[in-house]
């Protein structure tokens, strides 16, 4: 089948999802009202709460939610065939994905811009906040491990990538210095950065550097350490700023390349209901996390975005719009992967190195523009590594804050940024070195989707409390809860623990299984509290709930 037919599926989902279903839900269920004052206007302080143009916010939201996961997830999930991957991406984003992002922002907007921690405390139970924080710490650990491996495997397996990567890191410091210290015009700075980066990608294909897996991993962790410790303006921000242009170019060139090349889908449409990783349900639904639905988005929607939206009318274009854009990135990933290999065996040989697959796929698509494969491959590789590094440099920073928040009162040493960062780095190093990546990826997807279930639980409780049609959120919530808990349970009890007892990667597999079991326990406790809150709101005790929560100890 020609890959252009996949775009028909994309068009159907976007039109009916965004313009029909989302519009109906926004109007009828959430009753968006242009006249209602948003927190951005009500509490405008020029900093946290500040109305922003919806196009600006759309870019900001997309930049904050789209990492490497919408690309890697589909690449791994094509093991079940590209039809199940496309079906879940389309139906997931249609029924759950956009709703999750949109409603997270709406709940926060209607609650004075409160974050999920505060909302969980108010709507579910006082302990919900602590549970969420603990959950987030391990969720971040899984993200760091999953992406740490992706970067390490990708860079150690492709000698063209280390040089441009070093240049990008150097350019980040240069850009930070030029903007904030030397006060150089931002356009000049941007042009210098773009030229240096794109030139270094070409130079990397000539000056190849071969590095071992452990060397790259240590470098990635050192990178994580500096991102966590240095002021944001010194490194993280200029890095994100400079790298946006590579990603921008990669996506645009990729889309044009796909359309011009319109290659046939060579991988099988469907392989089997059960593969080495496990059965299609529940595992496919967590392997593809971002692109269909992702819990990370609720954190962005309910904090930064909800405090900057100047009208409730902007919520749908910004949040749902960005979700459909991320869905588009996943569709591109499916196409480039399914058209890049001659047969299944060639794909399966590379599945533990998604960067390698993406280099061949997107790099091949961009060659339709007339660029040589050596350059386009390096460009595609840089694009995905940059996206993954963007996540890694945020994750260690968040883990540092989470340690201080969760353990800071009991152990003052947890508040020390160096100690907290080094602990996070050491745990990540151990898990990357001793774990099995495909299973860690499933656990990451499971934790991510579980976070989405928590968000949908909060949305359901909000809708019940306000006597609105909560069914729109409760069924997706049930589905996501059941799927993710089953996926975590299956992977830990049927894969990780048996593998450890068989003597394969004993420590890593048992450690990963322990993390999965902890996440399951936290999810069940939160579900129990959520159920009690649901019954309370349903029986009409809605108004007393916040007062009760306020009286209880934190």
């Amino acid at each position: 089948m020609n890959s252009l037919w996949v775009l028909v599926w994309w068009v159907i989902i976007v039109i009916f999802g965004y313009w029909v279903y989302a519009r109906w839900a926004a109007k009828r269920v959430f009753e968006i009202d242009e006249g209602r004052t948003t927190p951005a206007k009500m509490y405008m302080d020029g900093v946290d709460f500040m109305p922003a143009n919806k196009n600006v916010l759309y870019g900001f939201q997309l930049n904050s939610i789209a990492g490497a996961a919408p690309i890697i997830g589909p690449i791994v999930a094509i093991q079940w065939g590209w039809v199940p991957a496309l079906l879940w991406l389309g139906l997931g984003v249609f029924f759950i994905g956009w709703l999750h992002d949109f409603s997270s922002a709406m709940v926060s907007i209607r609650n004075d811009g409160d974050t999920f921690g505060a909302l969980g405390y108010k709507l579910i139970s006082p302990r919900a906040r602590k549970i969420l924080l603990t959950f987030i710490y391990f969720y971040l650990l899984l993200i760091a491990t999953a992406f740490g491996h992706v970067i390490t495997k990708g860079v150690s397996g492709n000698a063209a990538l280390p040089f441009p990567l070093l240049v990008v890191i150097g350019v980040a410091f240069l850009v930070g210095h030029m903007i904030y210290k030397a006060k150089v015009n931002i356009i000049t700075t941007t042009i210098i950065a773009i030229v240096l980066i794109f030139f270094s990608i070409w130079l990397g294909t000539v000056w190849t550097i071969k590095l071992s897996y452990t060397t790259v991993l240590v470098c990635v962790l050192i990178f994580g350490y500096f991102s966590s410790i240095l002021p944001v303006w010194r490194f993280i921000q200029p890095y994100n700023y400079s790298s946006v242009y590579v990603v921008y170019f990669g996506i645009i060139a990729g889309v044009i390349g796909i359309i011009i090349g319109h290659k046939p889908m060579t991988l099988p449409a469907f392989t089997s209901w059960s593969i080495g990783m496990g059965p299609l349900w529940p595992l496919l639904f967590v392997t593809i996390a971002c692109g269909a639905i992702s819990g990370w988005h609720s954190l962005v929607s309910s904090t930064a975005t909800s405090r900057q939206l100047e009208s409730e009318l902007d919520v749908r274009p910004v949040t749902a719009g960005a979700m459909f854009a991320e869905f588009t990135i996943s569709i591109i990933a499916v196409i480039v992967c399914a058209t890049a290999f001659a047969d299944s065996a060639a794909y399966m040989a590379k599945v533990s190195n998604p960067v390698g697959i993406f280099v061949g796929g997107l790099g091949g698509a961009i060659t339709s523009l007339g660029l040589p494969m050596s350059y386009t491959g390096a460009l595609a590789g840089m694009m995905i590594i940059i996206l993954a590094l963007t996540i890694v440099n945020l994750v260690f920073r968040f883990m540092k804050v989470a340690s201080a928040e969760v353990l800071g009162d009991a152990w003052s040493v947890a508040k020390n940024p160096h100690v907290a960062t080094i602990v996070a780095l050491v745990i990540t190093f151990v898990l990357v070195k001793t774990g099995t990546w495909l299973y860690v990826w499933v656990l990451f997807g499971g934790a991510n989707q579980l976070m989405a279930s928590f968000a949908l639980l909060l949305v359901t409780l909000f809708l019940v409390q306000k006597s609105k049609n909560y069914k729109i959120a409760i069924y997706p919530m049930f589905f996501m809860y059941a799927t993710t808990v089953c996926a975590l349970f299956y992977t830990s009890f049927f894969k990780l623990i048996p593998a450890a007892f068989a003597g394969k990667k004993v420590f890593g597999n048992l450690f990963a299984a322990a993390v999965a079991i902890l996440l399951i326990i936290l999810a069940l406790v939160l579900a129990y509290d959520g159920w009690k809150a649901f019954k309370k709101y349903k029986s009409g005790a809605a108004e007393e709930a916040p007062a009760e929560a306020e009286k209880a100890p934190a």
Binding site: N63, V244, F398, V401
Partner: protein, 95 residues
Amino acid sequence: MEEKKKGKKRKSTGGVLGFVRDFTYGMATHGMARHALKQRSSMEHLFILITMGDMLGIPILPPYYSLRLLPHVVPQITTWKRRMLREKDLMDSMY
């Protein structure tokens, strides 16, 4: 004046070009600008806390100096109180 100019620049003029400009700004720079503002307001609020702490029940500076500084701080008092007294958690520090 400069802020007003910047505000005008960010407003969409409509059309595809306006969208592309705003979207690119949102993707690349909005987070940076937001963080710079946060940093500045944190420093300012720390200053107000030291000088006007007794408004929140934390007397740090003798009232004489507080009163001398009061006129400079007045425009920010509402925002400062809201930010100081607002509950914050991990998610606030994320974005």
